[in-house]
């Protein structure tokens, strides 16, 4: 059996180095074509007409006037349109020659509704009522009553995170084009290889008649796995019109329906002994992710396995666009609730939360030794011991500063991906797989692994991804991509290389297993002076290329990473404005493949974390059933001046490298909310119970009695 193991540190030419992403020049030159940029000959523009009610019967749909409007070539009524369950649910789609004509025609679609009862407010179960609630899970471990009897100090609080949206800059959507009974779809997706099945189901055509193309995509964050109702509608419009159709969601539609992270709130009681030893936890939690209660309840408390735990969760069913996975599903919410409760308990104990977390680090389980290392590194990068003070900054003046910390974990096990690696007689090499690059560097990592394996420079390898014609690869979700694509590439490239070695070995007077490919040479491992250049070696293939295909290999990847984050903030107690001074992230992801893009992932997660901690909230109006901020003026994202100084430290070397590559997309986005909330509590001496940490919430918390 071939040896697929990752090369040791001293033998790595590319893995773990700082390498610029392969598609960087395509992007910063503005030349690369995203789905949204595809302009096909004769292409029409699609537009959807959506529900203005949160819940209603659709009693009549009249498209006759719209069909007669200038430029209109096809009209489609969604099959689910007899009853709509949220504002923005699709009812009609049409396609016209220009965007302006599509917009004009959309105004001529007449829909009559019969409104039905709805709930859109992010309400607690008692206020939501039985009709809109569903008990999800209740669980008890140990003896909670006895646990609290042992507790010498207890803390109680309510903590929560509202519904936020994905707000991908490239809206959901696609361009569809038929050639006979075959469909080509340019789609902004996190699952290229899965689109055939999606369109097959929606259209009743064989999956192999669908080609999905997505070389680059403008952000997904967990919201872009499905073809969605609009994908099928777009294909139907294209079929009816006999012309290609582009249909991307308008920004308001995108924010209303194309992705929501569920809210989560909890009433928590937590107890510890005087020395800080955690003994008991009791929580009642609830939250909403739209009309369905998907998944189970949250696993509270997060990370810390407190010996005596009781938890209960209730789902609140609301008439808002359904939940979609949002980077690290459930974790940022569970983290905020748990780390806030623990931070409040530490304050009651009179302990520095750093010492309190360290005191209990053993009960974090398998990653506890990493957490200790990471806590110490983070504390040093943040200068924690100097900056931390007991709750409530005693400095004079209205500006108070404070620090907070949090820890997080994520599994990130590999998905199933397949790679085809080919070495051509002219010395060129290529790897192909039906995976996708969400902007995280997947294309670059695949190239790095192949080039490292072939002993070639990165530019010498062609990477083909983003098309369903390549070997199937798993969806990019849950930080599962890197484990799948890097191990499949490593194995396929090794197998192809061994086939090359078999052809070359006789001329070097060696057996194939005695050869290695290093530095652009194929040579005898035990006698490196005995070798020939790569190109010359490949010429020995004659006229036939060698190809090998291989899937994910779970023996050279693993799962389960940890990270620590610390935040330093200033809070203006007169205006309630929170400013981020500095954030530190210390993160493990097993074997780092590309240090540059890995760090970028963590910087990006910190920034996304600042955004959801300070600004993001999908605001629903119970009076009208409608979203009040489906636009980017009032659904705010952090700008370049809002994020402060950011410091990232990746854990590498012994204890990390030998675990193989593990996904990094989710873990660093989990802690920012808790770290920032704890920093604000440290600054002003009062807990702001819910994110985002907006001025009104900060002032309300101060009004209830900050120590500042």
């Amino acid at each position: 059996m071939a040896d697929y193991k990752w090369p040791p540190a001293d033998k790595r030419a590319l893995i773990g180095k700082r390498i610029s992403r392969l598609d960087g020049p395509w992007k910063s030159s503005g030349r690369v074509k995203y789905t949204y940029d595809i302009n096909r000959p004769g292409m029409l523009f699609g537009r959807m007409i959506t529900s203005r009610y949160a819940h209603a019967k659709v009693t009549h749909v009249d498209t006759s006037e719209a069909e007669k409007m200038p430029g209109v070539k096809a009209v489609y009524t969604f099959p689910t349109s007899s009853e709509v369950h949220w504002e923005g649910q699709e009812i009609v789609a049409l396609a016209a020659e220009t965007e302006n004509q599509a917009r004009d025609a959309a105004r001529k679609v007449h829909i009559t509704y019969e409104p039905l009862p709805y709930l859109v407010a992010d309400a607690e179960p008692a206020k939501a009522g039985a009709q809109f609630t569903k008990e999800q899970s209740a669980r008890t471990t140990g003896d909670v009553a006895a646990g609290f009897q042992q507790a010498e100090v207890t803390s109680e609080g309510r903590y929560g995170v509202p519904v936020i949206t994905h707000c991908c800059l490239e809206a959901h959507g696609q361009v569809t084009e038929w050639k006979g009974d075959s469909l080509t779809v340019w789609c902004s997706t996190q699952y290229v290889s899965g689109q055939g099945a999606e369109y097959s189901t929606g259209l009743g055509i064989p999956a192999n008649k669908v080609e999905a193309i997505c070389p680059v995509m403008g952000g997904g964050f967990g919201s872009k796995f499905s073809a969605d109702a609009w994908g099928v509608a777009c294909a139907q419009l294209a079929k009816k019109a006999g012309r290609p159709v582009k249909m991307m969601l308008e920004r308001d539609h995108e924010l209303m329906v194309a992705g929501a992270r569920p809210s989560m709130y909890a009433d928590v009681k937590v107890g510890a002994k005087k020395d800080g030893t955690l003994v008991a936890w009791d929580s009642q939690s609830w939250g909403t992710g739209g009309p369905d209660a998907q998944g189970g309840g949250p696993a509270l408390p997060y990370i810390f396995r407190i010996p005596n735990v009781r938890r209960k969760h209730t789902a609140v069913l609301t008439n808002i666009g359904p939940e979609r996975a949002w980077r690290a599903p459930n974790h940022p919410q569970m983290c905020l609730i748990t780390m806030s409760a623990l931070d409040d308990l530490a304050a009651k104990l009179g302990m520095d939360p750093f010492d309190f977390f360290m005191k209990n680090i053993e009960i974090t389980g398998a990653r506890s030794a990493s957490y200790v290392e990471e806590m110490n590194i983070a504390a040093s990068l943040m200068d924690w011991k100097k900056k931390w003070h007991p709750r409530g900054d005693k400095a004079s003046g209205p500006i108070k500063t404070g620090v907070g910390l949090s820890i997080h974990t994520w599994a990130g096990a590999a998905n199933n991906s397949n790679c085809a690696a080919t070495i051509h007689p002219d010395g060129s090499a290529e790897v192909s797989m039906g995976t996708q690059d969400l902007g995280v560097g997947t294309r670059t990592v695949v190239g790095i692994v192949a080039a490292e394996t072939f002993g070639l420079p990165l530019e010498a390898v062609t990477v083909n991804i983003g098309d369903s014609k390549y070997p199937p690869a798993g969806a990019s979700g849950g930080s599962s991509t890197i484990g799948g694509v890097s191990t499949a590439t490593r194995c396929a490239a090794t197998d192809a290389l061994n086939k090359l070695f078999a052809q070359v070995a006789p001329s070097l007077g060696a057996t194939p297993d005695q050869l290695e490919a290093v530095g652009g040479q194929v040579r005898v491992t035990a006698n490196p002076s005995k070798g020939i250049p790569w190109k010359q070696a490949c010429a020995k293939l004659g006229a036939t290329a060698v190809t090998a295909t291989h899937g994910t290999d779970r023996t050279i990847t693993s799962a389960g990473v940890g990270g620590v984050q610390m935040a330093d903030v200033s809070v203006d107690t007169e205006t309630g404005v929170v400013r981020v001074n500095k954030m530190v992230a210390v993160q493990d992801c097993g074997l780092v493949m590309d240090l540059k893009t890995a760090e970028s992932q963590v910087y990006g997660a910190l920034i996304m974390g600042v955004t959801y901690s300070l600004f993001e909230e999908k605001i629903m109006d119970q009076q009208t059933g409608r979203c009040l901020n489906p636009n980017m003026e009032f659904y705010k994202l952090a700008g370049i001046g809002d994020v402060g100084e950011l410091v990232v430290h990746m854990m590498t070397g012994k204890g990390y490298d030998e675990r193989g590559p593990i996904g990094l997309g989710e873990p660093p986005v989990i802690s920012p909310g808790a770290a920032l909330s704890n920093a604000v509590a440290n600054a002003i001496g009062a807990r702001v119970p819910e994110l985002p940490l907006t001025p009104n919430r900060v002032l309300a918390a101060l009004g209830k009695g900050g120590m500042a």
Binding site: S29, C168, E170, R251, Y603, G604, I640
Partner: protein
């Protein structure tokens, strides 16, 4: 200094009738002046309530009514990246839709579609502008630069190269807007500061969170351009 972020800007002049003024000022539309203009308009409305006849009299002295264009398509000549294009456009068509749908210049993106996020930024007469909120007819006769004009295909402008080298991009959808804001900024400011970068690029939003790379990219690009890279 970027127009939409400038606080030192003079108040906009009262617009004159088309054809009455051939100065480059005549067609300038920016988000800030648009908003300021709206503010002035609302003052005028309340003034008319207060002053009644006086305002009506003043209005009668205004230049004759503007020339009516549209709603049908009219010929419009746009100068984009040094090349003239004459197109039949409905007057309501935005510069962004024209660039993307008619000229296949798809670097500029429509994201928020209301002058908030900067993904559609192009440079018009040296100023960064949100092309989603500029009408194509208002851009006639003006010098429009899009990201495609920065360097020939297959080559990279020093700013684009700096975005690559500093990893100032992830999904890349916002990147052309950042690059063009950066271009307009560095055309004006040869020695940018960290604070200056935060301000000049404050009108561009990124969802992946690439601001760290962007900060470094802008500063490095300025140095490269100083050393004589192509502007």
């Amino acid at each position: 200094m970027k127009d939409r972020d400038s606080h030192a800007e003079n108040p906009p002049k009262r617009p004159a009738a088309p054809g009455a003024d051939d100065s480059p000022e005549k067609n300038k539309v920016s988000r800030r002046s648009f908003i300021k203009g709206t503010g002035i308009a609302s003052v005028a409305v309340s003034a008319s309530v207060l002053l009644g006849d006086e305002v009506a009299k003043a209005a009668s002295l205004a230049p004759p009514a503007a020339k009516w264009l549209g709603p049908a398509a009219v010929p419009v000549t746009l100068k984009v990246n040094g090349q003239s294009h004459t197109l039949d456009l409905e007057p309501r068509t935005t510069l962004l839709d024209t660039l993307r749908d008619r000229l296949d210049l798809t670097g500029a993106k429509k994201v928020c579609d209301r002058a908030t996020c900067g993904a559609c930024t192009v440079v018009v007469d040296g100023k960064p502008m949100y092309s989603c909120t500029v009408l194509a007819i208002d851009a006639e006769g003006r010098n429009i630069e899009t990201i495609e004009g920065l360097a020939p295909e297959g080559q990279l402008h020093p700013i684009s190269q700096s975005f690559v080298d500093n990893d100032g991009q992830q999904c890349g959808f916002c990147t052309p807007g950042f690059v063009m804001s950066c271009k307009a900024y560095l055309d004006q400011e040869k020695n940018p500061t960290y604070e200056g970068v935060q301000k000049a690029l404050g009108g561009n939003l990124c969802r992946c969170g690439t601001y760290m790379g962007v900060r470094h990219a802008v500063l490095e690009a300025a140095q490269k351009l100083q050393k004589g890279g192509a502007a």
